[in-house]
Amino acid sequence: MAEYRTHMKIIGDILLTTRDDLRDEDGATVTYLIRKANISHSRISRILKTLVSQGLLEQIDSQGSNKYRISQTGREFLQAYNTFTNFADNFGLNI
């Protein structure tokens, strides 16, 4: 059975992918993020738009295609996210 993921978990997965999976500073394509986060194009587009507007991701134009890389704010958010995921885990909850 597929594991249920909260909206927060999906955001965490996207940020984690942009931080850990990429070897250079080029950023991740939408297709790559869709595959790694395992969600639809329309949904990830809305989430990416929000994350960019919040300053957690930076949108870069690379050879005519949009790519996304994690910002410093995004790294700090991810650190807080990991800490409070463990905190909520203690109560048997998902953030």
Binding site: Q79, F84, D89, G92, N94, I95
Partner: protein, 213 residues
């Protein structure tokens, strides 16, 4: 002895609830997670409930000096704590606990207006017991899923609080027995167990961000 234990329990409950509540608020402000928001309400309510009872005992001891805490103060404190326990249980998706029918929902709270404050205290204690047992079971079940050792401590903590609540309620039947003292000792143990994993959260590395929503 009972007075001392009562003061330790209520002060500890106030401090533990406040600490976990503040951590949850910091988490909510940094991540925007609704789960952490519910935990904030839960533990700040629990903290406030213990604080009300502690203040009741302190005022009675230093100002009123009647020998007994005002019954309505105790009932108010327990009611506020029950709200906190409800939010812990609610965080574990307790929606199915409530009747679907709007008629049953509307008459469900009617008994609360038909009973005295002593009976109200019994009702709140029994509701707290059910909510705490539910929270303890759900937390222990989560341990079997993700093997997080902190969940054992929180589960045991909630379980001990439930047992303490049950013994506290049962001590009304045997008022002069050791039950009430045992109830408070067990509850103190529960609060300590609840705080152990939370005290290990490395909050010092978290940058508190006022601007992030």
């Amino acid at each position: 002895m009972e007075f001392l234990l009562e003061n330790i329990l209520n002060l500890l409950g106030f401090l533990v609830g406040l600490a976990i509540g503040v951590m949850s608020i910091i988490g909510f402000r940094n991540t925007g997670s609704p789960t952490l928001f519910r935990l904030s309400i839960a533990f700040l309510s629990i903290s406030l409930g213990f604080f009300v009872i502690w203040m009741g005992y302190t005022i009675e001891d230093f100002v009123i000096k009647s020998g007994n805490i005002e019954r309505w103060v105790q009932t108010l404190g327990i009611a506020i704590q029950t709200i906190g326990y409800f939010f812990i249980a609610f965080s574990h998706s307790i929606k199915s606990f409530f009747p679907k029918s709007s008629y049953f929902r509307s008459v469900g709270i009617l008994p609360l207006f038909l009973v005295s404050s002593v009976q109200l205290e019994h009702i709140f204690r029994s509701v707290s017991f059910i909510l705490l047992v539910y929270g303890a079971i759900e937390t222990m079940l989560s341990y079997f899923e993700n093997k997080n050792k902190g969940a054992i401590s929180v589960g045991v903590g909630l379980g001990l609080l439930a047992l303490g609540e049950f013994l506290g309620w049962y001590s009304f039947v045997f008022p002069e027995s050791i039950l009430y003292t045992a109830s408070m000792t067990i509850k103190i143990g529960g609060l300590v167990a609840l705080f152990i994993p939370v005290s290990k959260v490395p909050l010092t590395k978290i940058k508190f961000d006022d601007d992030f929503e």
